[in-house]
């Protein structure tokens, strides 16, 4: 798989469109190849591909992953440099955007990092760093202003206050939904495990919810919520209406239930009756059994469910912009409306980045909290 990534990487370096240049925000895009503006960049990225090729046959999977993760970051660095030079030559209206080549480079880097993480299966902490290091270095570059002449950053410059506000809102909605999902889902999972009578309906409902497309679920909630809000004034006062954050939050909580309930349920199934009986028979109190046996064994699996729910919530919150809940989806849908792809990217890229960061942080947390004896059961990719 690392070889596939390397092949895509080399291909992305030679195709005609690495970046695109437009005279104005909405004029036609002209592709530019990497070789035409940076021979040094071309040579060093090609060298990195060759290095990945050789590393993929060695035992240094972590090193391979780091190189691969930094390749797209370097690609963006080159794009930023080129944008700076064009801006100083032709003035502020020209737009430089990533094009097929740079996207392929990103894809290639992702594939190799993914391959490296698979090989680091049991080393969860290293594996999390494979994502966190490139993402952090990218953020540092972003903060340094090196990318400020890229089209997407120009869109950002026009909306920097709004961007921050929507990012925070995005995280609040997704985070709030997951936390509520845990508060509701964990007890549901426990109850489902204790009583077979409740198990069937609980899973029936949460499985069914998962099959409803998110946009439809948001829509379905509008009617009952606006009815409730009209008939119960106090709901209106605390901000619950048919549109906005309330239906978004409810829908996202419902989505987060399946992974959380399912994992809580199966984490308790993993604990055999014998283990608990042995613990009791050795003279542990009810409390000690919970703290020394049940929680340590089940926690990693529950957290794996929370991880899935969190990543999913970050993605699904995008749709919430459609019913006026805000979040980074706002830029995506504005951009779609204006046929301004750079604006779409201003929404979409941070969403992807947030999802990756949340995923890695959860993975790290799980790795730290998983007892050595349970490494293969919890936290699986």
């Amino acid at each position: 798989m690392a070889i596939l990534g390397m092949a895509i990487m080399l291909f992305s370096l030679v195709i005609p469109g690495f970046l695109s240049v437009k005279e104005t925000r909405i004029s036609e895009a002209l592709p530019v190849s990497l070789g035409s503006f940076s021979i040094v960049g071309l040579v060093s990225l090609a060298a990195a591909s060759v290095a990945i090729f050789f590393l993929s046959y060695s035992k240094y999977a972590f090193l391979m992953g780091i190189v691969a993760g930094l390749v797209p970051v370097f690609g963006f660095f080159l794009a930023g440099s080129h944008a700076l030079s064009i801006a100083s030559a032709t003035g502020p209206f020209a737009r430089v955007s990533p094009y097929t080549g740079l996207w392929l480079l990103l894809l290639a880097g992702y594939i190799v990092v993914f391959a490296a993480r698979r090989r680091l299966k049991d080393r969860k902490v290293l594996s999390a760093f494979l994502v966190l290091i490139p993402v952090t270095s990218f953020l540092i570059m972003l903060g340094s202003g090196h990318l400020k002449e890229l089209a997407i950053m120009k869109e950002y410059a026009n909306r920097s206050d709004r961007f921050l506000e929507e990012t925070v809102r995005h995280l609040m909605i997704a985070g709030g939904a997951v936390v509520s999902g845990v508060i509701i889902g964990v007890p549901l999972g426990i109850v489902a495990n204790r009583s077979p009578k409740i198990e069937k309906p609980v899973f029936g409902v949460v499985n069914f919810i998962q099959t409803i497309p998110s946009i439809a679920l948001f829509g379905l909630l509008i009617a009952p919520l606006s009815y409730l809000s009209r008939s119960l004034p106090f709901l209106r006062e605390i901000g619950i209406t048919g549109v906005g954050w309330a239906p978004a939050m409810i829908a996202l909580i419902l989505y987060s239930l399946l992974p959380i309930v399912r994992n809580t349920y199966s984490s308790l199934k993993v604990i055999s009756v014998d283990t608990v009986e042995a613990a009791r028979a050795m003279g542990m109190s009810r409390f000690q059994v919970l703290g020394k046996v049940e929680i340590p064994i089940s926690l990693p699996v529950v957290l794996a469910g929370v991880r899935t729910a969190a990543v999913q919530a970050v993605g699904n919150t995008t749709m919430a912009a459609l019913i006026g809940a805000g979040g980074l989806g706002v830029f995506v849908f504005q951009g779609l409306g204006q046929a301004a792809m750079d604006l779409v990217l201003l929404g979409a890229l941070p969403i992807v980045a947030l999802a990756l960061i949340v995923d890695s942080l959860m993975q790290l947390l799980i790795a730290i909290l998983t007892p050595r004896g349970l490494v293969s059961e919890g936290a699986d990719d």
Binding site: S272, A281, M282, G283, M284, S285, P371
Partner: protein, 365 residues
């Protein structure tokens, strides 16, 4: 001593697991509770450490009622081994074994010493096993760790619920032998639940045969095999119960004196031979073979009439009568010599003696 006094366990009016049982489990011996599934043997076991509460009656350990003791104190003084071991999957072998000592707040150094000692006792090398995880152990190894964990705080009583039920037959026999050795060393009061009659006969000092929540017979394995009180016990012991009984009897008890001859002397040592052969010994009374004493062979020098013995035709004093019988059938002989580990000849056991033994049983029935 664990005493059951009119103990009954009812789950509801229709399901009565244990019906009014009264018996005494002797200290420092291994008592087996055996019977078909649903006979109440596991319930009986689990009432001792109050995993299950009796509906009526009392259970006394050395005179004090278990229901009046502090439950944690009670349980920490009773080792517990179950069929699926129930090792804690998130803890190393060492931490598993140290569970009760930690609950009792032993010092760390004392726990370390104890864990090493126990691993050695159950035949696992402490260096390589202490830090292993349960998932890295084979079924047999896990079960040994389970036994070590039960013994950790040196409890006087150990309860075992089909402890060797989930391992393959070969490993099971090996574990049973090792366990018998450990018990010979430690002399714990052990209550052992099984449905495997061979296991019961191999390990038990006393057997309680249970059916439908009652104890049908409670006695030594020899007695139960020789004199089953009712048809169910008789059938449960199996059609080869005579053979099973022989497996409990060491040959030592049935050794007969028999004629021997010093291989370095001559034929004149023998008077009129009663048998067709005699055992041949050397100067230091070690067995070297047997000599045909018929007239035709007496014409040869003594050394040339000697037939040496194969190793498998020689019994040791702790062989069982069943083994002796089996070897006789294999080798087609009527008697086999019994020899100490040092090689000293003790005597012989003969087919006719075994027949006498089983005949007396038949007459009693």
């Amino acid at each position: 001593m664990i005493r059951f006094e009119k103990v009954t366990k009812e789950y509801d009016e229709e399901t009565v697991a244990v019906k009014d049982i009264t018996f005494e489990i002797p200290s420092r011996e291994l008592t087996v509770l055996i019977g078909p599934s649903g006979c109440g043997k596991t319930t009986t076991l689990k009432m001792i450490n109050r995993i299950i509460r009796p509906t009526a009656g009392r259970i006394l350990i050395d005179g004090s009622d278990v229901t009046e003791m502090d439950i944690r104190q009670l349980r920490r003084g009773i080792g517990y081994v179950i069929q699926n071991v129930g090792l804690f999957p998130h803890m190393s072998v060492k931490d598993n074994i140290a569970t009760v000592p930690k609950l009792l707040k032993w010092e760390r150094s004392k726990i370390d010493v104890r864990v090493d000692e126990l691993l050695q006792l159950v035949g696992l090398e402490p260096k390589s096993y202490a830090n292993k995880l349960p998932k890295e152990l084979s079924g047999g190894e896990a079960q040994r760790v389970g036994v070590a964990r039960a013994l950790a705080a040196d409890p006087p009583i150990i309860l075992m619920d089909e402890p060797f039920g989930a391992v393959d037959p070969l490993t099971r026999v090996r574990l049973q032998d090792e366990f018998a050795r450990i018990q010979e060393e430690l002399h714990k009061t052990i209550v052992f639940v099984t449905h495997d009659i061979d296991e019961a006969i191999r390990l038990a000092d006393k057997i309680a045969v249970m059916k439908g929540g009652r104890i049908l017979q409670f006695d030594t394995p020899e007695e139960i095999l020789a004199r089953p009180v009712e048809k169910f016990v008789h059938d449960f012991m199996g059609s080869d119960r005579a053979l099973k009984r022989l497996s409990r009897i060491p040959v030592l008890e049935y050794i007969e004196k028999s004629e021997t001859i010093d291989i370095n002397g001559g034929w004149e040592q023998l008077g009129v031979a009663k048998e067709e052969f005699v055992w041949a010994l050397d100067d230091s009374k070690k067995l070297i073979g047997w000599v045909d004493v018929s007239h035709s062979s007496r014409e040869l020098p003594l050394r040339e009439a000697l037939t040496e013995m194969l190793e498998e035709e020689i019994l040791s004093p702790d062989s069982t009568v069943k083994e002796a019988l089996s070897r006789m059938l294999e080798s087609g002989t009527m008697a086999l010599p019994v020899v100490e580990r040092s090689g000293r000849f003790l005597g012989q056991i003969s087919l006719s003696k075994i027949q006498e033994l089983t005949k007396s049983d038949r007459e009693e029935e």
